[in-house]
Amino acid sequence: MTFRLTCPVCGARDVYEFRYGGQERGPRPEQAQLSSDEHFRWTQFRMTRPEPQEEWWYHTGGCGVWFTTWRNPATNREEPPHEVERG
């Protein structure tokens, strides 16, 4: 089944109107003294847990806005973050 995402401008729209921009992972690390190991970890390494994660999306087939939303990869649906504690 296809699903809808909530664009902050246009409201709930079909997912195929959007482009996926990947997980939100904080600010880009400073280039100075950045090791290749750290660089590749930031650009490519991901932890895709089967629980809600914050993601970037681009409304390419609509208003053209970039926004973040929480979506659960286990269900594909938008879902608020779970309260979990990891130590």
Partner: protein, 411 residues
């Protein structure tokens, strides 16, 4: 004692259901072709019999039963071609060894190029294949039409056909037969297969994995192999392991049965289509991946429309043919379109066989053979060495994405 438990039926069961023990030498997570093949070769060639294959659903539930069963060895890089070529030559041997008809249909593969850049990509891949002793050749549009008369090679399609890459050694396999045959072989040599046992946690003691927590209680082991295909990245999050893997849904579908018209596997990067005609006469066709990471097997009408438009554009005779069925599986994509095969890197005793993307089917048994050697000897066989996880941190990406079959936004 007979190896068949259920002698009351004419043919009996292919494998036994054994009691689940609390300890095994090797625990393999994932009852697909990678896990089953690894268990088969560990038991058969390395005399490690104390093996449990844990499958949360039923064997072949994941990618092993959801692919389009295409096999080929015309990838871009030598390291990949070497592995896939050996894999291709394994099918007839396995059919004999497993005493099970895998229905290997050596019909060949034809990939289509619709741009100059794609033709150049084919030349690269063909040169790699030729250098590696694999048959692969460039065809002009007229020769493509001789292979598949239903192709429209005129200028009418949105992306006219400019050339073809013809790879006679490829073809298709019956994927269920492969799952069942490997399960039969693994069981015969002593490995035990446990369906419906879900891994819910992984136990570690310092730098070492020591076992798993499952829906059926804890199981300890000396070595743990994660071979769960698209679900593997999720299993690795139990150990807080980050990987350069994007699990994406990939959809495939079949039409109503037709008279024979497509006598080899056909693919087109520009149209995002790969198709073959099954032995039942259906056109089985696979699409591009959905873009967002997810662990579902959701299917969408979007791809019915996409596949219909694409196939009928360069094979107009398919207009009006109806799709009967659609399904989806997971492709665990890496940035360089090559898998991650490694052991003892993040934790001692932990082996991973992941990141195959949509190449996991054609590589299954041959990878199982070498992963078994890796696990038994605790040292990567030479053929698997290029696929170590460290390549991503050392900026040594494999060159698979240099081909025109390059799909996707992550590369």
């Amino acid at each position: 004692m007979s190896s068949i438990d259920h002698s009351h039926t004419k043919f009996g069961r292919l494998w036994k259901t054994r009691p689940l023990k609390r300890h095994y030498d090797v625990v393999i997570i994932g009852g697909g072709i990678h896990g089953l093949a690894t268990a088969y070769y560990l038991a058969k060639e390395h005399s490690i019999k104390d093996i449990a294959v844990l499958e949360s659903q039923y064997i072949g539930f994941g990618g092993s039963g959801r692919n389009t069963a295409h096999v080929r060895a015309n990838q871009r890089t030598q390291q990949n071609v070497k592995l896939y070529d050996e894999g291709l030559r394994l099918w007839p041997i396995l059919t004999d060894e497993l005493d099970f008809n895998l229905m290997f249909f050596n019909c060949g593969n034809l990939s289509l190029a619709h741009s100059e850049a794609a033709v150049s990509g084919f030349r690269l891949a063909i040169n790699t294949a030729t250098f590696s002793g694999v048959k692969s050749e460039l065809l002009d549009p007229q020769q493509c039409k001789e292979v598949i008369p239903a192709l429209d090679i005129s200028d009418r399609p949105a992306h006219p056909i400019q050339a073809g890459m013809y790879h006679p050694p490829g073809g298709t396999i019956r994927h269920d037969a492969l799952v069942w045959g490997l399960a039969k072989g693994a069981d015969k040599h002593g490995a035990s297969i446990h369906q419906g046992v879900e891994v819910q946690g992984i136990d570690v003691d310092g730098p070492r994995v020591t076992g798993v927590q499952t829906s059926h209680g804890p199981i300890s082991c000396n070595k743990l192999a994660v071979m769960a295909g698209g679900y593997g990245a999720s299993i690795c999050t139990m150990l807080d392991i980050e990987l350069p893997i994007h699990p994406l849904t990939i959809q495939a579908m079949v039409t109503q049965p037709l008279k024979p018209l497509l006598n080899c596997v056909l693919s087109s990067g520009a149209y995002h289509v790969y198709a073959n005609q099954t032995l039942k006469g259906e056109i089985a066709t696979g699409a591009h991946m959905d873009p967002q990471v997810n662990y579902t097997t959701d299917v969408t009408a979007h791809y019915f429309k996409h596949q219909a438009e694409a196939l009928t554009d360069f094979m107009p005779c398919l207009e009006g043919v109806r799709f009967l069925r659609i399904w989806a599986g997971l492709a665990d994509m890496t940035p360089d379109m090559a898998p991650i095969l490694d052991g003892n890197v993040m934790f001692d005793g932990l082996y991973i066989d992941l990141g195959w993307g949509y190449f996991g089917f054609k590589s299954g048994p041959i990878t199982g053979k070498y992963m078994a050697e890796f696990i038994a000897r605790e040292e990567a066989p030479e053929i698997l060495a290029p696929f170590a996880l460290s390549r991503f941190l050392e900026n040594r990406y494999m060159g698979e994405t240099a081909t025109t079959m390059k799909y996707g936004h992550w590369d």
